[in-house]
Amino acid sequence: MITAERKPFEAVYEFARRHQKILVLGCGTCVTVCMAGGEKEVDALASQITLAARQKDDNITVEKHTIERQCDQEFFDEQTSRKIKQADAVISLACGVGVQFCIECFTDSIVYPGVDTKFYGANTEQGIWAERCIGCGDCVLEKFGGLCPVARCSKSLLNGPCGGSAEGKCEVDPENIDCVWQLIYDRMEKLGRLDELELNVPANNWTAGRDGGPRKIVREDITL
């Protein structure tokens, strides 16, 4: 999933106080699962803004609404459209994709980001999400026993590990980051494929990733 974290309330309130009628718009998919921008978080943020406005004597009224996905046109239904248009501004709790797409759909509206979008990650333990993919556009997982050095090595080394691997941890943050090259080594050893790690991986072609410029997928078979 795409993970996100709520922005500090003070930052969000700074957006809100520029307007009188605010719509807090949640997203029912990734950010709901990672508990940053779903219905619950919409409720909490709306109450927080209302309370703060009362304390500071700011004239702000807050509406709230959550749709299934803000990255897909079909979920911006008539009711949602009305609420967005009636508000002076929207604070979207969707990921960066949702916020931008909301703006694309409602070009006359002002939409603020209410969360900081983080990464593609997995929910590894309760309350913990960890990065697993950077969307490089050319999946190499098969080569490395199913562990991605592009996303999970601090230096994206394809012929790792570097000299900063100690006791299974990455020197960049030994408490929080596993050395993915240690994990790759252990996994390949278990699979009996250590000989494959002897092969030199050539310089990567980064054009499938962000370095090729903003990307687009066109599926001719389903376009109208």
């Binding site: 080394l157 090259w181 030199n200 991986v201 980064w206």
Partner: protein, 312 residues
């Protein structure tokens, strides 16, 4: 010979090499460079010039290498993959070769989080193994990383950089069993010589060298053993406690703290280490990294019977 490098000639002739290291200044202080270089002149075969080591901004290794050349010292220009992509690196390699810099050492580079510009974006377009391969291809196949020939135009002659390619190896990092493989990968990429991380844990180093010899790697690459004198108790403690993977034996700490003349004892220890390393089969030289202690290099080299340096 692959290049005009003096270091290459010494290693190829089977003579025991000694290289030094010089960290560029965090300013335009040329006197600082010249002073350090004077200590090393005639005492080592080549001098590594670090490339923004520990991710701290310093004068470029290219520029300092040129100053050393003016002083008739042979520089080994270090290049890391942290700050430059394959375009910038190849461009620097052409420039370095044009100025008669014959040795280039390929490194991945310390992560920027350890330096003084922690908010910077890193590059890591290629890694150290790929950097070695790129340089070897430039020299031996006379081609850029993209496969184009190294010539200025279709009709122009090929003018490739003739360089002696080095790399670093860390026998002490994990996974231990992968460390000899990592060297093998660098050899397969085309490295000519390697310098190790500074060695204090002789047992673990011997274990690594055994793996290296079992695979016959010492016959395919020149291995220079890294040595850094522990000039004070504080430095020894720092190396032991703060540098990942470095095990500094307590006996060294005890000897340094009991010594009346700490500097003299530090040199004794360093000289002992060099003698021990020289005995190990497969060691072709010493890489002496006297960090901020370059002035002691002549004394260490003398006591370790490494002077005079061979003339080639």
């Amino acid at each position: 010979m692959k290049s005009e490098s003096r270091l290459e000639k010494i290693l190829a002739s089977g003579q025991f090499a000694l290289t030094g290291e010089l960290g560029p200044p965090k300013s335009v202080d040329v006197d600082f460079i010249r002073q350090k270089a004077e200590y090393l002149k005639g005492k080592v075969d080549a001098v590594n010039i670090t490339d923004n080591q520990t991710a701290i901004v310093r004068m470029s290794s290219f520029a300092v290498a040129l100053i050393l050349k003016e002083m008739h010292l042979e520089p080994t220009m270090q290049i890391t993959c942290r700050d430059r992509n394959r375009l910038a690196i190849q461009s620097d390699v052409l420039g370095a070769a044009a100025h008669g810099i014959h040795n280039i050492l390929c490194l991945t580079g310390d992560h920027q989080c350890f330096g003084n510009h922690t908010t910077a974006k890193n590059v890591f377009d290629i890694d150290a193994v790929q950097l070695i391969e790129m340089l070897r291809q430039m020299r031996d196949e006379k081609k850029f990383a993209n496969g184009e020939e190294i010539k200025n135009s279709k009709k122009a002659p090929i003018k490739e950089p003739r360089i002696f390619i080095g790399a670093a190896v860390n026998p002490f990092a994990d996974p231990l069993k992968f460390r000899a493989t990592r060297l093998a990968k660098k050899i397969n990429a085309g490295v000519d010589f390697v310098q190790t991380q500074c060695i204090y844990d002789m047992e673990r180093f011997n274990e690594w060298m055994k793996q290296v010899r079992n695979r016959g790697l010492h016959e395919k690459v020149k291995i220079l053993a890294g040595v850094t004198p522990l000039k004070s108790v504080g430095m020894a403690q720092y190396m032991r406690d703060c540098v990942a993977g470095l095990m500094v034996p307590d006996t060294y700490l005890e000897r340094l703290s009991k010594a009346q003349d700490t500097a003299a004892e530090a040199i004794n220890i360093c000289v002992e280490q060099i003698h021990q390393l020289r005995e190990i089969e497969g060691i072709a030289g010493i890489h002496l990294m006297a960090i901020e202690w370059e002035k002691k290099v002549p004394e260490i080299a003398e006591k370790a019977n490494l002077l005079p340096r061979p003339r080639v």
